[in-house]
Assembly symmetry: C2
Homo-oligomer: 323 residues x 2
Amino acid sequence: MLSEFDLIKQYFVRPAGSGQPRSVLGIGDDCALLAPAPGMQLAISSDMLVEGRHFFEGEDARRLGHKSLAVNLSDLAAMGARPVAFTLALALPAAQPDWLQGFSSGLFALADAHGCELIGGDTTRGPLTICITVFGEVAPGKSLRRDAARPGDDIWVSGTLGDARLALAGFRLEHSLGAELQHAAAQRMHLPTPRVALGVALADGGLARAAIDISDGLGGDLRHILDRSGVGATLDVDALPPGPVLAQQAQSLRRAFTVAGGDDYELCFTADPAQRDAIAAAAARCGTPVTRVGRIDGDAGLRLVDANGMPLDLVLAGFDHFK
Amino acid sequence: MLSEFDLIKQYFVRPAGSGQPRSVLGIGDDCALLAPAPGMQLAISSDMLVEGRHFFEGEDARRLGHKSLAVNLSDLAAMGARPVAFTLALALPAAQPDWLQGFSSGLFALADAHGCELIGGDTTRGPLTICITVFGEVAPGKSLRRDAARPGDDIWVSGTLGDARLALAGFRLEHSLGAELQHAAAQRMHLPTPRVALGVALADGGLARAAIDISDGLGGDLRHILDRSGVGATLDVDALPPGPVLAQQAQSLRRAFTVAGGDDYELCFTADPAQRDAIAAAAARCGTPVTRVGRIDGDAGLRLVDANGMPLDLVLAGFDHFK
C-alpha cells in the first residue's frame, strides 16, 4: 500500500529540470515560498470539484486532472493574469497507482503548457474531492474586473458555447445525439480549454474593461458583471456562437444552451467599441475566435433579443449548487 | 432555501470596516488580488479537512471553523511567516443557517485575531469538506525551512504535547479519563492554538534554523526535518512537555503520546545553542512556553533516550492517511 508521502513523491514531485520552477521553495515544507515579480499583483482563485457533482463517478483520471486545473486557469484568464503556480489538495477513497498516474499526467500536461508550477498541497483519504488554488500575476490596474463594465461597451464572448451543456443533456437522456456527436460534444465537457492567452492579451493591451469566465452559463455569469458594474445589457441571442455539435441542433436548443449552458469556460468580456479592431487582431494572434454578442446599457437588467432585435422570453437559470 | 450566492454574501462577505482588509480585491470576482509587500516572499499552505477523517461527524461548527483555519496558520507559523489572507473552499451536504453561522464565527474570530483576511474561495454541495489555502509574508532568507537543521543544534518544542492524542484515545475508548479530564483534553483537540507569534519572532530574529509544526506526532514530524537536512537527532523523551491532562497519566502513556501523538499544532524547531537565552526571551514575550528536548546529530536516524540518556525502544508511527 502506497503511503501518503510516497504518493506525493511518486506522482506529484517532479524531477529537477522538468516543468518550469516558478517558486523559491516547492513541495515538501510546511509552506511553499513564492517571490512575486516586483510591482505585480497576485491573482488568486480556488475551486473545489466533488465527484458526482462536478464530474461523474468513475470519470477518466487523466481528463479529470486536466479539467481540475483548467477551471482554475480559466479564472486567471478572466482576470487577465498570467499563471505562475498552484496548490493541490486531494481527498481520495484509496491510493490507486493507475488513477494517480492518469490524474497527475493530465494535470501536469496542462500545467506545463501554461508554465504553472505545482508548489504544494495536501493529500488525505476521503470522498474524491479536488481543490486547486491557483496563482497568477497581473500588473496593477490591468486586471479585468467584474465591476468595470460601462454603458455603451460591446459584449464579447470567446470560442463557442453550449456543446458541454449539450453533452450533459445527452448523458442525462434529456436529448439524444447519436454516439459520434455525443462523443464530440463530450470532449468540450471533459477537456475545457482555458482562454489564458486571450485574457492576458486583453489585460496587457488594455483592450477590455470587465470580464468573467463562463462556467455557470453566459446569462447567469453576465449578470455578475451587470450587478457589480451597476449596469444592464442587451444580448443578441442569435449572435451567440454555438459549439459545432450544438450548431446542428434546432434553434430552440441552440438558444437555450448558448444562453444558459454551463461548463463552457469561455470568456465573456466588455470593451469600448473603439477597440473592435484591436480585439479582433489580438484574438487572431491568440488563435481564439471572438464574437460580439451585445452591448452594455445604462438601464439595469438583462434583455435577450433575437437577430431582428425583438425581445425573446427565455427562462434563464444559472447553475446554483444549493438550489 | 439559501442560494449559493446568498450563502456567500450572508456568512462570508464581511461588512466594510470589519476585519482588516489586506487585499486589493476580495470576494466576488473571478480572482482575488493581493499586492505583496515589496521585497517580501509569500508563504503558501493548503490543508483539506474531511468529515469522519479529520473531525467527527456532527462536530460543533464554531470549533470546526476555528480548527480549519488554525491548522493552516500553524503551517505559516512553522515557516515564520506573518498571516495575510486565506481562501476557503467548502463542500456542504446542505446550506444550514445555524451551521454556517457557527462555522463562520469560529473562522472569523481566529482570522481577525491574526489579521488574516478571507479573500475568496468556492462553495459547493458535497460531503462536508473544508479546504483552506493560507498566505503569509516572510522576508527572503528568514523563513524556517525543514532543510536547515545542523548537527549540534538544540531541538525545541513549544507549548505541550499529547493532550489531543489523549482525548482521541478517550473518544475511541482506548483509555478512560473521566468526564472532566476528557473534556479538558478534548479542548486541545478541538481548539488548537497556532503558534504564529512565536514562529514570526523566531524567523524575524534569526533565532531558529529549521522548524516544522507538529500535526502528525513529534517523532514523525521531526523525521521530516532530519530527512531534508540530512542529519539525525537524539530526543530526550522524558523532557517532552506533556499537556496538563496527560501529565497526570502513567509514564508509558506520557512517553507514547508526547513522542507520537497528533493534532498538537505546536512548533518543533532547531537552533544554535548560542541562541538559548534569546529564544527563552522571545518565547516569554510571545507568552508561549518553549522546552529544549534534544539535539541534532551528524549521524542519521532518530534516537529516543530517557532522562538518564539511556536508549528507549518506543514504537513510533507518524500518522499516514493512506496506511
